[in-house]
Amino acid sequence: MNWMPFKIGQPKKQIVSKTVERDFEREHEKLQKLEDQTKKLHKDMKKSTEADLAMSKAAVKISADLLSNPLCEQDQAFLDSMTALDTAMKRMDAFNQEKVNQIQKTVIDPLKKYSSVFPSLNMAVKRREQALQDYKRLQSKVEKYEEKEKTGPAIVKLCQAKDELRPVKEDFEAKNKQLLDEMPKFYQSRIDYFQPSFEALIRAQVVYFTEMYNIFSQLTDQIDEAGLTDEQRQKETEAKLNELRSLSIVADD
């Protein structure tokens, strides 16, 4: 009967109804998409906080290197400016660090935690799939023996197959039911789960930029010429550069 090899293990009886299977597939796809997105967001968040930190560290280095440059020894006013700049940069960095810690705690860690659930869910899906295969295999075996003549050994084998089938069937049904139950629940949980993270993220930034604005308003008042537009600045720089270029000791081009 089973002359086509790939037909082996394919029971004639419909084990899982098509709707169930479709529901399952849909839930599973949703989860897979969610997993991808979570991982991506986790990665991006991590990268962006890293870049953010690196940026403020670079800014600190700008001022620290200038402050340690002997240039400052030559000019008290310059030294004052650099000290102010350095203080501001360090404060900014401290606030940034705090912000990043906060984000780590309220956003990145939860994201990581959330994505750590997926492997066990996937494993469960895999187990269900295995169970389904087992179930199908045994089911087709039972069917095979049922079709055979009811001789003694055949009956023995049929009984054995049925015995084997039962726990497998129960196992599959339990798994199937649980997954169909758990997957939508888990998917739904993302809303309550991530809502606080995003709020915290936005608020952490608000706090940080408020502080940063204060710091740099003060600093700008202290060391910058007030109220210049970019064009004016550019013109001024260009004028200075031209002045430098006009010196005979400066090599042109």
Partner: protein, 813 residues
């Protein structure tokens, strides 16, 4: 002819070739012809005086010639070659001689002083056309003076006044025509050149400083005309001098750049000449723009400022010679003349400095081959001398020439350079990280949380952030800080090279410093050192100051950019933060809420994970075959439940005392290592045999699985009932005999013995299992005793019946 000759002579003198070999009259004549043609073409407003003649002119002239010639004999040898060159120059282009003049104003002025009255009288009319008239009248007056002394004096005064007036007029007129020519050049010619297809390359650099020169010239003229004085008025001269003096610094500034650029202009023009088509176009343009002059090149116009600046001293001195020392403006005039000479000197100095600077400030990009090719005995000697001098400094053998001012400047420059480089590097790092931040597309996620405020806000914020706030910040950073900083860095090269070169020249200089008399070359070395040193002393403070200011300004800008960024960001975030569900919460409350929420979420996830793992990952419990169960029981009894392990993969023994086990078999652990202490081989009891098994193939068997008894044969299906009916003939004796009080092994199916080592059993017949495997350890066969007969039956024909069911049996029995 004579008239031409005289004018030519004047001209040749004027052009700085008075040491020329004038004894050759024929030469002069030829030359004069050439010059006069140029004169006529070059000066459109020739005066009517030109036609006057005087018989005495040649006499005077020959006298002058003699005097000059005499003078020349002394330096003839040195000058002959030069003279030839000069003649050549004069014949070919008037401009270049004028340029020569600029290069040697000091020598000119000294020679001016040497030259006697003749020269002055010769010079007086200069190259202007009314020269003839003056000469004529002068001669006539001189003759009359011999007769009448009194008349002579008044007449002389008159003549003086007239000459003075003419000289002044000459200055003014020539200035006007000069300006006019320049205007023609810059406006007409330049525009037409610009319209050429394709426009000549580098055109703008030709006219780089003409604007300034014209500006200063026109200002001079307007100052002269402002007061509306007649040249005859003594105040006119005063005004002229005052105007010139007041503008002198501007004249200097304008002309020095122009003259400096003129070298470049010549180069560019030569380039144009290489391209014949272009050059003929240019000539056409020049001719059509200024048809009244016979100009044959661009430099005909462009050289004019070069000539002009050198002519000021001559013109002024001419005026001075013809001015009575009692004239009210005499002192001022003298000052003006001196100023104009000083002006030329300054310009020359400036040019020299620029040349030295240009020579050394550029970094040479030489390959090793180039360097090797450059080596010569001279250069090696030079380098060795420098090196030895350097060693002497370092070892303290020779005192170093200390210039404290310079050392301070150099020190400042060095730290400035270091500061700029470090700053640039840091700014680049900063920008790099900013770029990285921009690359993080954190808003591009899809959690399918459309109805939720927070993620939507977050997405919008970050889109805005990445689309315009941060890019704008980056752009401002780049244009306002990074770009100028790069340019500043590039500018460090020139001073750096000059400082290095200065040290080299210093080393050279120190060697020759003590010598009382310096050779020509040594003089050049000393000059080079002094020039570089002066140059650096003059300009380095300016450079340092400006660079420091720039850094300072940039940091101010940096701060300002941060402030603006923070302001934008704060506004953006704040705007969205207000829309959030918890926006009214106090930060602290919010903090607590978030933390508890996050913890809560984590806990829920944990619970979920656990439940998934527990229920979904539990293994399927397959029913155990009776023989297995029996074996399990046997092992459990013997070794205790904790020691039971199951074989995960089929093991094939390869060594002595190794066991060969199939998957799923049970073993009991005896020891966790073999005789040699190898923990990977465990000594186990498989029921029949004891031996070693790789520990990796064993897994602990959970007895718990037995707790809910697998009970595969519990009567749940109809089929099973049929079997049960058969199994319900328990033999109480046999039950008694079995080692298992709870279970009785019975034959599940009929089995017919096929040989004398097998035994026939009927379904339901109780049997006693003696061995659960055959002699070869094959567990498919069991040795049983049934009805007193011993023999093998297939193990899977046997089954266990709980004894409890036996008690239910009697009704069926």
């Amino acid at each position: 002819m004579q008239q031409r000759l005289s004018s030519a002579a004047q001209h040749s003198e004027d052009s700085g070739i008075k040491r020329g070999d004038l004894s050759s009259l024929q030469l002069i004549q030829d030359f004069a012809e050439a010059i006069s043609i140029m004169e006529v073409s070059g000066r459109p407003n020739t005066s009517p005086f030109k036609l006057h003649k005087s018989a005495s002119t040649p006499l005077r002239y020959s006298g002058a010639v003699k005097k000059v010639a005499k003078k020349n004999q002394t330096k003839e040898s040195g000058n002959k070659e030069k003279d030839k060159q000069v003649e050549y120059d004069n014949a070919s282009s008037e401009e270049e001689t004028a340029e020569d003049l600029v290069l040697k104003p000091t020598t000119d002025s000294s020679e001016l002083a040497d030259a006697g009255a003749h020269r002055i009288s010769l010079r007086l009319p200069s190259e202007d056309s009314f020269s003839e008239e003056t000469l004529v009248s002068e001669e006539r007056l001189a003759e009359e003076a011999k007769k009448k002394n009194e008349e002579e004096e008044t007449a002389a005064k008159e003549r003086q006044a007239q000459r003075q007036m003419m000289a002044i007029e000459e200055l003014v007129q020539s200035e006007k025509s000069y300006l006019k020519m320049l205007q023609i050049c810059t406006v007409n010619i330049r525009n037409s050149l610009n319209n050429l297809q394709p426009p000549p390359p580098d055109l703008d650099s030709l006219f780089l400083y003409t604007e300034e020169v014209m500006n200063v010239s026109s200002r001079l003229l307007s100052k002269l005309e402002q007061k509306q004085l007649k040249p005859q008025n003594p105040e006119f001269l005063e005004n002229l001098c005052a105007s010139f003096l007041s503008l002198s610094s501007e004249i200097e500034a304008a002309y020095k750049e122009y003259l400096w650029n003129y070298n470049h202009v010549s180069l560019v023009e030569n380039d144009y000449k290489q391209n014949e088509a272009l050059w003929s176009d240019i000539i056409k343009v020049v001719k059509s723009a200024a048809p009244e002059v016979n100009a044959t090149s661009l430099s005909f116009f462009l050289v004019m400022p070069v000539q002009r600046i050198a002519r000021y001293p001559l013109l002024l001195q001419t005026i001075q010679k013809h001015t009575d020392p009692s004239h009210p403006a005499y002192a001022l005039l003298e000052q003006t003349a001196n100023t104009s000479i000083a002006l030329n000197c300054n310009i020359n100095e400036y040019k020299r400095f620029r040349e030295v600077a240009d020579k050394y400030k550029k970094t040479e990009n030489l390959t090793i081959m180039d360097k090797i090719n450059r080596l010569s005995t001279h250069s090696i000697a030079k380098k060795t001398a420098r090196f030895s001098q350097y060693i002497k400094h370092e070892t303290g053998m020779a005192p170093k020439l200390v210039d404290e001012e310079f050392d301070t400047l150099e020190g400042f420059f060095n730290i400035l350079e270091y500061g700029i480089l470090v700053l640039l590097e840091n700014v680049e790092t900063y920008l790099f990280h900013l770029q990285r931040l921009l690359e993080c597309k954190t808003e591009e996620f899809d959690f399918d949380m459309d109805g939720e405020k927070a993620p939507i806000c977050y997405k919008e914020i970050h889109t805005a952030l990445r689309q315009w706030i941060l890019p704008m910040f980056e752009k401002r950073m780049r244009t306002l800080i990074h770009k100028p900083l790069c340019e500043l860095r590039d500018m460090l090269v020139g001073p750096k090279n000059l400082i290095r070169k200065r040290l080299h020249k210093l080393l050279d200089y120190e060697v020759i410093e003590g010598k009382p008399k310096l050779s020509y070359e040594e003089q050049a070395v000393a000059n080079a050192y002094k020039t570089i040193n002066t140059l650096l002393l003059n300009e380095l403070p300016c450079f340092n100051g400006l660079a420091l200011q720039m850094i300072w300004g940039m940091l101010g800008t940096f701060s300002c950019l941060h402030r603006d960024l923070a302001a934008d960001m704060e506004q953006l975030f704040q705007g969205f933060a207000l829309q959030l569900p918890h926006s009214s919460c106090h930060p602290k409350e919010f903090q607590e809420w978030v933390e508890t929420a996050v913890l809560e979420g984590a806990r829920n996830l944990d619970i979920l994970c656990q439940s998934v793992q527990e229920t979904l990952n539990s293994p399927v419990v397959q029913p155990l075959s009776p023989s297995c169960q029996r074996l399990l029981k046997h092992l459990t009894d013997k070794h205790g439940s904790g020691k039971i392990f199951q074989v995960t993969n089929t093991v094939v023994g390869t060594r002595d005392f190794d066991l060969t086990l199939t998957k799923g078999e049970f073993v009991a652990l005896i020891s966790e290592f073999d005789t040699r202490g190898d923990k990977r081989r465990w000594l186990v009891d498989s029921g029949a045999k004891k031996g070693y098994v790789p520990s990796s193939k064993l897994i602990r068997y959970h007895q718990a699985a037995e707790d809910p008894p697998p009970s595969p044969f519990l009567p749940t299906s109809g089929n099973m009932m049929a079997f049960r009916r058969h199994s319900c003939i328990p033999d109480p004796q046999l039950i008694h005999v079995t080692s298992q009080p709870l279970f009785q092994v019975v034959a599940a199916y009929d089995f017919m013995a096929r040989g004398n080592h097998e035994v026939s059993v009927r379904a339901g017949e109780p049997v006693r299992v003696l061995e659960s495997q055959d002699k070869r350890g094959n567990s498919e066969w069991s040795l049983v005793e049934a009805r007193g007969q011993r023999g093998y039956v297939p193990s899977n024909y046997l089954t266990r019946m709980p004894v409890g069911t036996g008690s239910l049996a009697p009704p069926l029995h």
